[in-house]
Symmetry: C2
Subunit: 403 residues, 2 copies
């Protein structure tokens, strides 16, 4: 009672933690490799055949995996491969952007089953909360109409919006969605849906999506450079999304570039916001995405000029990412129109020499990722799926075991 400073310690673990981890490892292996037999799983995970059998049996009972037709592979008893059941789990993903909000429902393997969007009225959360909650409710009930028992298998709601979170805010920056960023979104969504809610910035969501179904599938170290209205980096480190102390890791858009004696955030030079300014168009125009795509396809000169300028900064960004994170690969993705992303990738090459240039590379240094207005919502939905099923240190610890 006297000198009771709080004691800091990591949580211990027990049998349940072990079991939870092993279940996740199985699911992860099936996700990465496709269907595998129990014997394959035992070899790959270093567990015994018996243990694998028990866990697979349990996963099958839970409707997460199912057996496929036996395959003969030479001598010996044929093996029975088990694969993930797509309908084994669902999650809702929600993207809150400047002028629009999007929601999707995805299944265990990351297929989008339902998608819907709505315009966001000006005025921030006070006007937008209802729109957002209605959108989520709509997607949720459509999902329930498509698949039976979806509610029982709904692992959570993932939200994504531009970062950074919880920062004092520079006030004068018209590109910050400060009202939403300050708003207790997590609490509101939890109260409004009754679901387990998570929140990431949009670059992190894009990275989560790439890891589940895209170019980072099965990789342990990958960075997604996300070009959207702003620009950010989603970090997959040691096989998990890295969030930093306050969920703001990877906010590369705020990195400062020096030119002409003054410093400018990367975001002001290479992002859709900078493109819109360059083109003097209205960011709120709902047809803007298609319009820009058209311009890019047509080889518009103004677009070209912006691409060339942005490519210089992106080339530098990729070099910086390689230098600081030493990833297996860098993935360029965005909510930008696909034609624009393609032009950017073409303009970025060749990359600057870096420590990523080494003999024996198997992956390209830079890969294209998803460039789809829905990829952030997909990534948002991938968050809860990943939290529930991917192997993670935190999932082993006693203080995170649920039932």
């Amino acid at each position: 009672m006297n000198d009771s400073r709080p004691i800091r310690a990591k949580s211990g673990t027990n049998h349940e933690g072990t079991s939870a981890h092993n279940r996740r490892v199985m699911i992860d292996a099936l996700r990465i490799n496709g269907a595998l037999s129990r014997a394959d799983l035992a070899r790959a995970t270093r567990l015994t055949k018996q243990t694998v059998s028990n866990i697979i049996e349990e996963l099958e009972r839970d409707g997460l995996v199912s057996s496929q037709e036996a395959v003969r592979r030479g001598r010996g008893q044929p093996s029975t491969p088990y694969g993930l059941v797509p309908e084994g789990a669902f999650a809702i993903g929600l993207q809150i952007d400047r002028h629009v909000t999007r929601a999707v429902a995805v299944n265990l393997v990351g297929s989008v089953l339902v998608r819907d969007e709505a315009g966001l009225p000006p005025g921030g959360p006070s006007n937008g909360t209802k729109v957002v909650l209605d959108l989520v409710a709509g997607v949720r009930s459509k999902l329930a109409g498509i698949v039976q028992q979806s509610e029982k298998r709904l692992v959570g709601l993932g939200a994504a919006m531009p970062g950074p979170f919880g920062v004092a805010g520079s006030g004068d920056d018209p590109w910050m969605m400060e009202a939403w960023q300050k708003f207790p979104l997590l609490e509101t969504l939890t109260a409004g849906t009754g679901l387990d809610v998570g929140l990431q910035n949009d670059a992190a969501a894009a990275a989560t999506a790439e890891r589940m179904v895209g170019a980072a599938h099965g990789l342990d170290h990958a960075v997604c450079l996300f070009v959207g209205y702003g620009i950010g980096a989603g970090l997959i480190l040691n096989g998990e999304l890295y969030r930093g102390t306050n969920g703001n890791a990877g906010e590369i858009g705020m990195a400062l570039l020096f030119a002409d004696g003054k410093s400018t955030p990367l975001e002001h030079r290479a992002s859709l916001a900078s493109l819109y300014q360059h083109l003097s168009v209205d960011p709120a125009d709902p047809h803007l995405h298609a319009h820009i795509n058209d311009l890019a396809l047509r080889g518009d000169q103004s677009i070209h000029a912006w691409v060339e300028a942005a490519a210089v900064d992106l080339r530098w960004s990729i070099h910086l990412i390689e230098t600081l994170f030493d990833p297996q690969t860098v993935i360029l993705c965005g909510s930008a129109p696909e034609a624009l992303v393609n032009k950017l990738i073409a303009a970025i090459g060749p990359l600057l020499p870096s420590i990523a240039e080494r003999r024996g590379r198997t992956l390209p240094r830079l890969q294209p990722g998803m460039a789809d207005p829905w990829s952030v919502a997909l990534g948002a939905a991938a968050g809860p799926i990943s939290r529930a099923f991917d192997p993670r240190f935190a999932a082993i610890l006693k203080d995170s075991l649920q039932s």
Copy 2:
């Protein structure tokens, strides 16, 4: 046999993994909080009193913890605190630098018991290997002379040298120790000492040291900006050193700065190498360290000019680190003379506005760390200690369990 593509999967775990983790959690808690009673440990780790008792008993048998005098804390039976036994384990740390090699022996709590250094002859590993092995052998036998049974409690040898590792090499860069970097140092040291050997770059080693006994003690997210002959960042992410795909994460010295229309690596502008060039002194001079310290203390004009210039770049680096890693704190350390580091810290402030500027901060954004020629060797030694005793995801997995 037919389509046997390798199956990728994470390793499963079992009872031993659980037990190993819980042991590590106890040791970690005692390291962070000092001596704790079993009841304290049970509450902090969420394990039961009984489990804690068993583990503590085992750790005591192994000579890693010992009981202290009972303390009365109000009503109830007095508690018996247990603390780490410094002599419970030892490790050797080895630093290989441009002109010198240093070795230290440290104990479980990071106290340096033996230190020794030797000049490195030119010619790289072919001439230097024997010097290095002799130095390690000398420190090892001196340790054996000071403490009994030290060999049995020696958990490994940690080596540190400037990175990057395994890179093609730009050939024309006189600041790269390419011969050593290409040399199979790990294998040579393993063969030459029979110990478990680890290798990190010097910034990573500095971070490891700061985490064990310095400003990053007990922190889960901290970045050490290391100013030495080169400049690098040691990354503590999620409570562990982050190495990246090839052990090259954090090589911020290679980040490119644009000025006057051309790009320059940070390392060429803010590092001891740049200072030596600025002062036109011989980097191989053994008295250089003391000399520079003197100059700094005396307020030398040439030093001052370099400090002012370097501070601009370091301020930018710190902003970049905060932006990309979102750490709890940034620690400035180095093998630079302490007076110089102090001048740098003074010149760096005030920091640039960043996402690290938030209400409710408890730690300063920038803290001074160790500035001691021996800190890299200490960090190198801290590597094996950390690998052996700190809670880590990898330590739970079956494929890393030894006996």
